[in-house]
């Protein structure tokens, strides 16, 4: 079992856009992504709205069919498995989304919602499943009595705990968490970030943690990938990426986050221009229209994704 838990190679997803009135075209929402998640590892994916983060997550979960590429889970290529052959693998791969309310049935008690997969897929009896659900609620910091209440009786943070309890019920190896704390207030966000950290320590689960919130990603991730217009433009360990960013986009992105401190000495790189449209991406380096260092070479030639130090990669002509 030397294969990494998850290995993604050359992943592409193209959406057809336009139609009757407009010219048909494609959006290359994911345009050649390579990604690895090791056992017990948390990999963060950051980037601005529309860069393709959620699409990567949904492709990995096989909620969406890929256009091109390979997704290996524990060494097995799952990228084209049928729904029935995916079923046993789904137990190992769970997800948590931004809006837990949308993923919880409003007419089902929380206990029943958590017990359901245990009963249907986990092979437990109803009674065992119910007891197990109560223990899971306790694990995520809720009272066992919460199992008899309905989702609307909980706050946003509590609902996210419930969604997490359900995600961990079958003992998955990987959890794809797409903006799991983005809708929460900071004081509650910190509770959930810590809960995810504790669960990882206890169960060795891996996370693919998708978020536009850079400081949260810094706190939770072992490794981080930065996406821009459907590609990964830089990846490395948490400290490589946050302390020594190489790509001009990463540098600007990190410097844009306001720090809650007076006299913060960080220098701000303010980019000019707007985020380009994914349906009509720039030539050469996709970042060149906004890049403070761009030359004519950047407009003409796509930079390669190169290793700048052990385990740290970036795609820019000038690094």
């Amino acid at each position: 079992m030397n294969a990494p838990l998850l290995e993604v190679k050359g992943l592409h997803k193209h959406f057809a856009v336009g139609g009757q009135w407009k010219k048909k075209g494609v959006v290359k929402a994911v345009n050649g992504v390579d990604l690895t998640v090791g056992r017990g590892e948390t990999v963060g994916i950051v980037g601005e709205s529309g860069c393709g983060k959620s699409t990567v997550g949904r492709l990995i979960l096989r909620l969406l069919d890929l256009t091109e590429g390979e997704i290996r889970f524990e060494g097995m290529d799952i990228s084209r498995l049928s729904a029935s052959r995916m079923r046993p693998i789904r137990k190992q791969m769970q997800c948590v989304f931004q809006d837990p309310y949308a993923s919880l049935n409003p007419r089902m008690t929380v206990g029943a919602a958590i017990a359901e997969p245990l009963f249907l897929q986990g092979g437990l009896s109803r009674k065992e499943a119910t007891l197990r659900a109560e223990r899971l609620l306790d694990t995520v910091g809720l009272h066992a009595q919460a199992s008899r209440l309905y989702p609307h009786e909980f706050s946003g943070g509590q609902r996210q705990r419930i969604a997490i309890a359900r995600a961990i019920a079958l003992g998955p190896k990987l959890i794809v968490a797409d903006e799991p704390v983005s809708a929460l207030d900071v004081s509650i966000q910190a509770q959930i970030v810590n809960l995810l950290g504790d669960l990882k320590e206890k169960t060795q689960v891996s996370y693919l943690f998708i978020s536009h919130n850079l400081s949260v990603v810094r706190h939770i991730s072992d490794r981080v990938a930065v996406m821009y217009l459907g590609r990964i433009v830089e990846s490395g360990t948490r400290d490589q990426l946050f302390d020594n960013p190489k790509h001009p986009y990463t540098q600007a992105l990190l410097s844009s986050v306001p720090e809650p401190e007076v006299d913060s000495r960080r220098e701000r790189i303010v980019l000019s221009g707007e985020v380009p449209n994914a349906a009509n991406p720039p030539s050469g380096c996709p970042f060149h229209p906004r890049c403070p260092h761009a030359t004519s070479r950047c407009r003409d030639e796509e930079p390669a994704f190169t290793e700048v130090e052990s385990g740290h990669y970036a795609s820019c002509h000038f690094i």
Partner: protein, 320 residues
Amino acid sequence: MSQAILSVKALKTVFRDRKSERTVVDGIDFEIGSNEVVALVGESGCGKSITSLSIMGLLPRSGEVADGEIRFRGQNLVGLSKKEISRLRGNKMAMIFQEPMTSLNPVLTIGTQMTEGVRRHLGVSKEEAAKVADDWLRRVGFPEPARIRREYPHRLSGGMRQRVMLAMAMACKPELLIADEPTTALDVTIQAQVLDLIRQLIAETRMSVLFITHDLGVVAEMATRVVVMYAGQIVETADVRTLFTSPRHPYTKGLLASTPRMTGTARKLVPIPGSVPPAGQYAASCRFADRCPQARPECREQVPELRDAGGGHQVRCILA
């Protein structure tokens, strides 16, 4: 502090329906001086937006200012007629929101909306208004204003729309700008552009600003003074430096400890346990007591006063 542009005293705003009455803003006091940027922070539902809508006379039908004063340059706005308030609004006071689409008309071009607003408030000719509009569009970073004037709102990106809103607000030369989470929906690199722009406008026009946000990073960057709200009340207020370097209310301290950082060691976060009590259902105690790590029995026996801690620093905690 020079004479206050805005002074809010004992403001109480309630929502009523057939069954109940809820006080969601409960005795708020603060002032904004000339060229001051006061940040209003706190968690979702604590009453930030309702405070600002009370000031602007824009409360929804079911809401009402039940008590208190809102003085703009000395004039009490509470009890003014709709007509009188709307004359002040857009002229002396302007507001921008998190989602510009809610205040832009989707079927009119940017140009039409801007010139109409300018004519209404400044009483100038159509040509004059178009010139003012162009001038402001240029100042918020559209080098070719004529092109933007012809666009419809939905054709612009979020960051462009927010800059258009800013140009519209600024075109009427407000003395007070109320900005309710103006950058919350934007990507961080675009947020940086818009914050930069707002800062520049504050310096140039010397307007005063009430800046509403839940992001302490944005507070540190923009504010001269900070008002921290919790469950409809002010729990702490201080100049920005004091608030970040020596916060005294356990809630403010908790917020700072739970906020992840971009620098320093990525230590474990310290969350505030529990969650915010439901709005308008408060016991006669410190509203933070159930979540406060320092709470004592006394905290539950009365509602602590907002007390002066010296140097314009006020704290609502019996221990502070």
